[in-house]
């Protein structure tokens, strides 16, 4: 993108030159210069050969290009119209498409950081007058159709939309097995990571490329929370508050980042008050539940072993990492109890 914008700057400066000079692009390189401690922040440096040879006549176009790109991002960030032409803005199709919610790329400019996020990129693509663009994405879906002769398959997304892909060898077995389970309702979901083409309304139009496809656990937390996200107020025969998207997003992130992957996944159910109840049935006779309030801040944890009337209870602060550590420890501790072991009620 930087090269194409630099070329456009060059043409703007020299409208009578038909050709871009030879070796125009040979003088630029992007290098990873460091990974900051304790985070996933990458420092990438624009290295131009002209820095070694300051008299390089092309350096100025790359510097202008860098400024134009950052100013365009800043404009989109503030809701203004970017000054880059739509055909150049379209290069954002390839830049920043792996950004997930909460992630960003920062560019220092005039003493502040200009930030490219999923939202900013979407605005830039709209200004590029793009009808469709690509996104790197993780999709949870069922395999609803397979055509072995044509070597294609169809995914059925949770919202009912369908998306076609090619049945390539690396993930063929996973797709076929998920398809076999389509009607059983069990083990029939897959996680597809790859690049998908979407339109302005956010509808997925086609799979561009597939990185990998893996079978999903029937208790996959994100899949279940997405299902619960479709509940409306009054879902329980006229009663029942629907869980908020904020709560569902908080739980998705927390289970992904803070829940011990070695522990069994919970069953998840809505509560009438708009919260979520997580439940585990452990094979040593313990039944565990944790009611999460509608704000996602408190977890009311309770474990019972009905055969000997044992019980444990805890109040967990789920807005803090310590609450999730407490949940992991409590589940590990209960899981270690042998079936015949007596546990002191607390």
């Amino acid at each position: 993108m930087l090269v194409e914008v630099a070329k456009a700057e060059f043409k703007k400066d020299k409208p009578h030159r038909e050709r871009i000079p030879r070796n125009f692009t040979a003088e630029i390189d992007l290098r990873l210069t460091g990974i900051e401690e304790g985070s996933a922040i990458l420092s990438i440096c624009l290295v131009v050969a002209g820095q070694l040879f300051p008299n390089s006549p092309n350096l100025i176009y790359f510097e202008r290009a860098r400024t134009s790109i950052i100013e365009s991002i800043a404009a989109a960030e503030s809701g203004a119209v970017p000054r880059l032409a739509p055909d150049l803005l379209y290069y954002f199709d390839r830049f920043g498409r792996s950004l997930r919610p909460g992630e960003s790329i920062s560019f220092p400019q005039d003493g502040r950081d200009v930030v490219l996020t999923q939202t900013t990129r979407e605005r830039l693509m709209v200004h590029a007058q793009a009808k469709e663009w690509t996104e790197e994405i993780a999709l949870r879906a069922r395999v609803s159709e397979v055509d072995k002769a044509r070597r294609t398959f169809q995914l059925e997304l949770p919202n009912g939309a369908r998306l076609g892909g090619n049945l390539a060898e690396p993930y063929r077995a996973v797709i076929l097995e998920a398809f076999d389970h389509y009607e059983s309702g069990r083990e029939n979901n897959v996680l597809l990571k790859g690049v998908v083409r979407r339109d302005r309304s956010g509808q997925f139009k086609a799979i561009e490329s597939i990185e990998h496809v893996t079978p999903l656990d029937p208790l996959d937390v994100v899949l279940r929370l997405d299902e619960l996200g479709r509940l409306q107020d009054g879902w329980l025969d006229g009663e029942g508050k629907a869980p908020s998207q904020t709560l569902l997003d908080h739980l998705k992130t927390s289970f992904e980042d803070s829940f011990d992957p070695e522990l069994p996944l919970p069953y998840l159910y809505p509560t009438i008050e708009g919260g979520i109840q997580a439940e585990w049935t452990l094979n040593n006779g313990w039944d565990v539940s944790m009611e999460v309030d509608s704000e996602g801040t408190n977890g009311d944890f309770r474990a019972v072993k009905i055969c000997d009337n044992s019980e444990q209870s805890l109040s967990l602060s789920l807005s803090q990492e310590s609450g999730w550590i407490g949940l992991n420890e409590a589940l590990r501790s209960i899981g270690r109890n042998r079936p015949e072991e007596q546990t002191i009620a607390s």
């Binding site: 069990r186 025969d237 009663e239 159910y269 109840q277 049935t281 009311d300 019972v304 009905i306």
Partner: protein, 123 residues
């Protein structure tokens, strides 16, 4: 009503994941005066109770699970055979209990019902 009489409880589809019913299925609501409605298992079978619940009462259910009168009584939960608003209606009475006691007793009933398994399930 005998100790072994089954009390049939309808389970809302949102309270089922991967075939497992939630303990939420046994939580009484304040709207119902903390009276948990169940069907008298000596008067009606699980499948007809589901049909009555979904067609006559127009409510959602994906299946039927149950506890016995004896299991409720062991947990200090009275069972009342009131026959209102339909002849097979009974309720498990959670009144005068604290919130945490309600949850504890509902959890226990759900554990017992899960051990008994589904008595009827919509296929």
């Amino acid at each position: 009503m005998q100790a072994e009489t089954l009390l049939l409880r309808q389970v809302h589809p949102s309270f089922i994941q991967d075939g497992r019913p939630s303990s939420q299925a046994f939580f009484p609501t304040k709207k119902d005066g903390l009276k948990l409605s169940v069907y008298h298992g000596d008067k009606i079978d699980p499948e007809p109770s589901w049909k009555h619940y979904t067609t006559q009462l127009g409510k959602e259910s994906s299946g039927v699970i149950a506890v016995t009168v004896g299991e409720c009584q062991s947990g200090q939960l009275p069972v009342v055979d009131d026959g209102v608003p339909y002849p097979e209606h009974c309720f498990i009475d959670f009144k005068n209990l604290t919130n945490s006691a309600i949850k504890k007793k509902a959890d226990n009933l759900a554990t017992l019902a899960r051990k008994r398994g589904w008595l009827f399930r919509v296929s």
